[in-house]
Symmetry: C2
Subunit: 395 residues, 2 copies
């Protein structure tokens, strides 16, 4: 609890007015005053300031029961641009994003297993390209990165795949581009993307579960990203699920990630190719290493029984993990993201069934479980939302 001063009150009310315009799409000054309970003068002054710096514009005339029809205000989507960066995979992806999550341009660069300073050079190149491509004043740079982050200091504490340890990425980028930089874990920003631009726009509490090479969750509670004391909240991929289980890259065995990630699925498919002459994948028996997620998905779609049974197993294990989250946090909305979501509605149904079996019925019944609509842009959009949240209070 901190003191509320007049200056804070004004800043709070200014942001509240901008957020009201943003959330409503188009709205008159009178309706803002009605909705917020603020005086017409306070609203008019704030609107004048936001119009002065180009974030808000008068966009037309509304209807009125009697008297002069009101002038409608709207946030100017392209008034500022956001640079969103996704470092989660072996291709670094980025985009110039407008204030509504519209993607103005995309760019990506292969990492090709580079790490350390070489990987950092790829980030510089990617950000440089995007900064040059932005056609409007840039509000900031947002980064979603794999591993343990410290968002308060802008430091990558530990990103194993990139061999980054205590890397002050925020500071380095701020120095280089003279722009505000915000960093968070990729799964955590994915959750922010959902609550800003996705299915979670109207909910208070949600969890996004990303299942790709890694497995992790992002948790939004009371419409704020919850990161935990060490910023490690959502590291569900490294909870032990089976004993002893396969070795995980975290050093333990039997973690959830070893059972449901894309690598786990491909590994199972390779075993099927070798062991099961009845499977369509058996044609890979001479070179099982050639099996990738595309090949597994092809066999799944073709109705290969062994592959379908393996995918059902994976869905059940993931469902068990989701049941744990549902009972722990009782959020109304669980959103699935990452490359494994390509197995589609059937796979989601299997997860839902397992949640129904493995979680308290009253809670399972109240929880929606769905695939993201933001597709592969989810982390880039979440990184952009991180900027919107910090710079304008719009999340």
């Amino acid at each position: 609890m901190k003191k509320a001063t007049r200056r804070q009150t004004k800043a709070h009310n200014d942001r509240l007015i901008l957020k009201t315009i943003y959330d409503k799409g188009e709205i008159s000054r009178a309706d803002i005053a009605r909705l917020t309970g603020l005086t017409r003068t306070t609203v008019s002054d704030a609107v004048a300031a936001w119009m002065g710096n180009g974030l808000v514009a008068e966009v037309g005339v509304g209807r009125s029961a009697r008297g002069k029809p009101p002038i409608l205000l709207s946030v100017v989507d392209d008034a500022r641009h956001l640079i969103g960066i996704d470092l989660a995979d072996n291709v670094f992806r980025g985009a110039v994003v407008d204030l509504r999550g519209g993607i103005r341009c995309r760019h990506s660069l292969p990492v090709d297993e580079r790490d350390g300073d070489a990987a950092l050079a790829v980030v510089y190149e990617l950000v440089g390209e995007l900064v040059a491509a932005a056609s409007s004043s840039i509000l900031g740079i947002g980064i979603g990165a794999p591993g343990l982050m410290d968002p308060r200091r802008g430091v990558v504490r530990n990103a194993v795949n990139l061999d980054w340890h205590d890397l002050p990425l925020g500071y380095l980028l701020e120095e280089r581009y003279q722009l505000p930089v915000y960093i968070a874990n990729d799964c955590q920003v994915a959750a922010l993307a959902e609550c800003t631009f996705g299915r979670g726009r109207d909910v208070s509490n949600l969890i996004v579960i990303q299942v790709g090479r890694g497995v992790g969750a992002g948790i939004v509670l009371n419409r704020s990203l919850y990161c935990g004391d060490g910023c490690g909240a959502g590291e569900i991929g490294h909870v032990k699920f089976v004993d002893p289980g396969d070795r995980c890259r975290c050093g333990h065995r039997g973690c959830l990630e070893t059972l449901v990630s894309t690598r786990a699925i491909v590994r199972r498919a390779r075993a099927i190719a070798l062991d099961d002459p009845g499977s369509a994948l058996h044609r890979f028996a001479v070179e099982p290493g050639a099996i990738d997620l595309d090949a597994v998905f092809g066999a799944f779609q073709a109705g290969d029984e062994q592959v379908r049974s393996a995918i059902a197993d994976v869905a059940r294990v993931l469902g068990r993990a989701v049941a744990g989250l549902v009972c722990t946090l009782n959020v109304e909305c669980v959103i699935l993201a990452g490359r494994v979501t390509r197995f589609g509605q059937e796979w989601v149904e299997l997860i839902r069934d397992e949640v129904g079996r493995a979680a308290l019925a009253a809670l399972a019944d109240e929880t929606q479980i769905q695939i993201t609509e933001l597709d592969a842009d989810i982390v880039v959009l979440g990184a952009a939302a991180l900027i919107l949240s910090h710079e304008l209070g719009l999340v």
Copy 2:
């Protein structure tokens, strides 16, 4: 985000000043102004109002480097009394509690398997006794009850053991005693007790895990109780842990509760008594139903190998569940409560070991896992803290 008006600002600042005095124990007006950043006038006016209604008093004179020594202020512990009620077990417990969590008097009534209206009559009798026993003006009644609560409406949605379904307990008690009434789940208020009066006074995020007849967690994030969309957060006792497992009272099989609750422990001990002539419990073989938690604890303390091995199993399963919470929420503090904590430090060590094996190392290392110091009063104190939080903003 709601508008900040002057009246809200004043109410906010008044509570901030009271909380500052409460948290600091003894403090001068000048130091309050310094700490909060509020003006001396604002502080003096608020202090005068709190002194006027007896909540704050001048308690002495502080030291000063030069000039007049400052007058110290303190919250008057007995200025108001809180009625805290714990309905979690087969004995309803209650206490008159002062503003610091000091217990002024205790009272408890056996439920003797009564439920429905008969159980409600026991609540009335208990509250009536405590209201009569309070020696100061009563700030409110707080209730910690098992099952699904709706704290916003003061309704018990579902308490299976008491056969209460959609019972408007808050309304009934408010009508009867003309006092504010606050209701929450017993495990949830236990977490509030820890962050107000217990080990969690100085931490932002904590989880309390109660292991007794039932198993559940209470979650405090950013020093606020997190209840979830349906108020069911923390229902970890009903996550499926084994397949198929024993029948649970929730209707499913293999829930955590069927493995680690006092009933699960007693059930295992009874099996040992029947099957294992080497165990000290074998003397109960003719009447295994006579084994209760005391008998199990006696055998554990006496070093009975079978019993010790069963308790170690239970600790490992619970440790696995704690690992899930640690990776999901990355809280700095996990506190164990409930009757199973009598197995003590050895049992906690086994849980810690399992968390080390089953959670991401960086997160496990940063998490303290401890037994509560509030003992069997934890729910009563949490119910009292619920009143403090709502009525005075002191949590």
